[in-house]
């Protein structure tokens, strides 16, 4: 062919150069195409941003100023079960055996960042000086964790315990060596311990559900307000970045007038259904059963099942209402300032786990907010993983909230009609997607952990870095203790959470619709209160 012949010449012929660069027009066309597409995409994005006035930046997080970290806060842990252990780790104290376990696991699975994250967790300058658990094995483990100041494994474990075991929480509260307590007992003990602690002037971090009965809500709120101790309820979702961003977006009216909110907490594993392991060393000798029963009116003989799986009985907890509905409600209360609903109807049953439990494993609650013109609906099964997310539905769009945030415009939206008609907004594609930490993959180790992670309850992101939400929640509490102010999930928020959850539990148990009398601040069973 001619081009081969041309190579015989010593210099490049014009023809040869033309052939060498024959594809340049293709590159020109390519460049033009890319430019057109980029311009079009950015125009659409700019137009959406301009029209909606939204920002894709991480939310501005409220910071507590003037925190003096120099003096340690002396903390006591009351209840070192599954949650108590997690709270201790979030506060910076892990059992040496756990450190070893994480280290081993990280060697086998490079996605397992638990140790790395624990070690990089900020030192909150806390001293765990007291531990209280009614099961000897857990009490010993708590002491080891409290004394693990250097966050080391078993081989480098501290030889001396720096923490005292108290057999009764009252002795701990009487000690001058305690400034604050973390209460992670079963729910039936929450109120009594929190009240006693507040009366002793100790600051309180208490797990959800805040109380076991509705009467206790009033008692606890009164004492906390009266004493002025720093109170934080354990809804760590308060720290989830996407929830904070969701509030920003909702406040800007992105989805229009809200009319229906659906939340769900489905999960499908024995652990998720509170069928926790019974420790082989559990016995009447190692467990203080009488003290465990404590304020429960219904006294029963020693039962390992009841001790370890207490969430399944009304004597100790409030089932899905107090355990999981509260997290969902608190997330939405944070975003929408829901407050206490006007009414509630709940239903459900024990449909799958027929293991002698009293609390339902399928549970629904429908709350009405006539003054806000919307319904808040909670639905849960402990025997199905079908997740429906947290969805806020408005006339102009809907928002799905989890670890990330997705907003779709509604095809029939009035607000977006012009933009939809112009083709700027396509209702099939999100108009807003906020996905913090999307460049990283994380190992989440169990079905229950995956459940919590998907709800933004396990970890969140700060400056793109994954952080345990419980750590941030405890940090907020201790920062508030140091600066003498109340944290985000304070007693007012706790009051709303607890009343709302009890309305559902009472409705289910008594088969009546429950109303809230806003003026008298009491619930009314079965007859409507004035709106």
């Amino acid at each position: 062919m001619s081009d081969i012949k041309s190579t015989k010449t010593q210099t490049f012929s014009r023809r040869s150069i033309l052939k060498a660069f024959a594809a340049v027009p293709v590159l020109g066309a390519f460049g033009y195409g890319v430019f057109r597409k980029r311009t079009y995409d950015s125009e659409i994005r700019d137009q959406i941003v301009k029209e909606l006035g939204i920002s894709y930046n991480p939310p501005v997080l409220p910071a507590i100023k003037g925190v003096d970290m120099s003096k340690p806060i002396k903390v006591g842990i009351i209840g070192y079960g599954i949650r108590g252990e997690q709270l201790m780790r979030a506060a910076g104290f892990a059992n040496p055996a756990t450190i070893d376990e994480w280290e081993e696991s990280a060697k086998k699975n490079s996605n397992d960042h638990r140790l790395e994250e624990f070690l990089s967790q900020e030192d909150l300058n806390l001293q765990f000086t007291g531990a209280c658990d009614l099961f000897d094995v857990r009490a010993k483990s708590a002491l080891e964790a409290c004394s693990n100041l250097k966050r080391k494994g078993v081989k480098e474990q501290a030889s001396q315990l720096t923490c005292k075991r108290y057999l009764n929480y009252k002795e701990m509260l009487a000690s001058p060596d305690i400034d604050a307590v973390i209460i992670a007992t079963p729910d039936h003990w929450h109120t009594q311990i929190a009240i006693d602690a507040a009366l002793e002037g100790k600051h309180v971090y208490v797990e959800k559900g805040m109380t076991r009965t509705i009467d206790e809500v009033y008692q606890l709120a009164e004492v906390i307000k009266k004493t002025g101790v720093v109170f934080q309820l354990g809804h760590q979702g308060r720290q989830t970045e996407s929830f904070i961003k969701a509030k920003e977006i909702i406040d800007q009216g992105l989805i229009g007038k809200i009319n229906l909110i659906e939340v769900c907490t489905n999960r499908n594993s024995p652990n998720g259904a509170w069928v926790y392991d019974i420790h082989p060393e559990a016995s009447e000798k190692t467990i203080d059963w009488e003290q465990f029963q404590g304020p429960t009116p219904n006294r029963v003989p020693f039962s390992k099942e009841r001790f370890f799986r207490w969430r399944c009985w009304w004597d100790y907890g409030t089932g899905l209402g107090g355990d999981l509905l509260t997290h969902e409600y608190d997330a939405l209360n944070q975003i929408l300032n829901l407050g206490i609903p006007h009414s509630c109807v709940a239903s459900g049953g024990v449909y799958y786990y027929k293991d002698g439990r009293e609390v339902p494993d399928v549970f629904q609650a429908v709350y009405e907010y006539p003054d806000r013109d919307f319904t808040f609906m909670y639905s849960a099964s402990l025997a199905s993983n079908r997740d429906r997310g947290k969805i806020i539905m408005g006339h102009d769009g809907n928002m799905t909230i989890g670890g990330e945030l997705i907003v779709y415009a509604d095809p029939e939206s009035t607000k977006y009609k012009a933009l939809i008609d112009k083709g700027v907004i396509d209702p099939a594609n999100p108009i807003f997607l906020y996905s913090p930490g999307s460049k990283r993959i994380d190992a989440v180790t169990s079905a229950t952990a995956k459940y919590f992670a998907g709800r933004g309850l396990l970890y969140t992101y700060r400056q793109g870095k994954r952080v345990d939400t419980t750590h941030l929640h405890i940090k907020e509490w201790t920062d508030c203790i140091r600066t003498q102010q109340q944290p985000s999930c304070n007693i007012d928020q706790g009051f709303q959470e607890a009343i709302t959850a009890h309305m559902a539990t009472i409705s289910y148990r008594e088969g009546v619709k429950i109303y809230w009398d806003k003026e008298k601040q009491v619930i009314i069973k079965g007859e409507p209160a004035k709106i």
């Binding site: 081009d3 060498a20 390519f30």
Partner: protein
């Protein structure tokens, strides 16, 4: 089509179609690369994490290491872009073709379309064993054995000396 002086001699239609094929594949690579370069949020992590099959252990372990992911992201973005440019311009074409085949082999093996594998990432078609990655690999192999870059391409200047010798 026959070889002449160690080079292919094509009919006009053969040459035209081969060059078009080279440019189209190049365009595909270049746009994939440029889009990733221009997108601040793109990462290979989702793709790696969705891996199935005999290579999945390696891909998943890569996905778990942020530093490795950074390297893979960099190599993908620039690899795709340079392979694309090479193919369109007929510049260092053989290296580009080999690079392209390697990249495609990774994409093919990360989630191979085998019986019993399902994926989190949505697929735009239905595939069994043969998918578009595999076809593109063989299209590149065809371009390797039927080169056009020394007829239409910068390689005709780069390799001029060697050709003359």
């Amino acid at each position: 089509m026959h070889r002449k002086n160690g080079f292919h001699s094509y009919s006009n239609s053969q040459l035209t179609l081969l060059v078009i094929l080279r440019i189209l594949i190049g365009w595909h690579f270049l746009y994939e690369g440029v889009t990733k370069l221009l997108s601040s949020s793109w990462s290979s992590i989702g793709y790696l994490a969705d891996s199935k099959g005999f290579m999945s252990g390696i891909f998943l372990s890569w996905a778990g290491d942020p530093d490795v992911v950074k390297i893979i992201d960099f190599m993908n973005m620039w690899g795709l872009t340079l392979v694309g440019l090479g193919l369109i311009m007929g510049c260092l074409t053989r290296i580009s073709i080999i690079g392209g085949i390697l990249l495609l082999a990774f994409y093919y093996l990360s989630p191979p379309p085998m019986v019993g594998y399902t994926f989190a990432l949505p697929s735009e078609g239905s595939y069994l064993w043969v998918n578009k990655n595999l076809i593109e690999i063989f299209a590149l192999a065809v371009l390797y054995v039927f080169p056009t870059q020394q007829i239409f391409g910068i390689d005709r200047l780069i390799f001029k000396k060697r050709i003359r010798d």
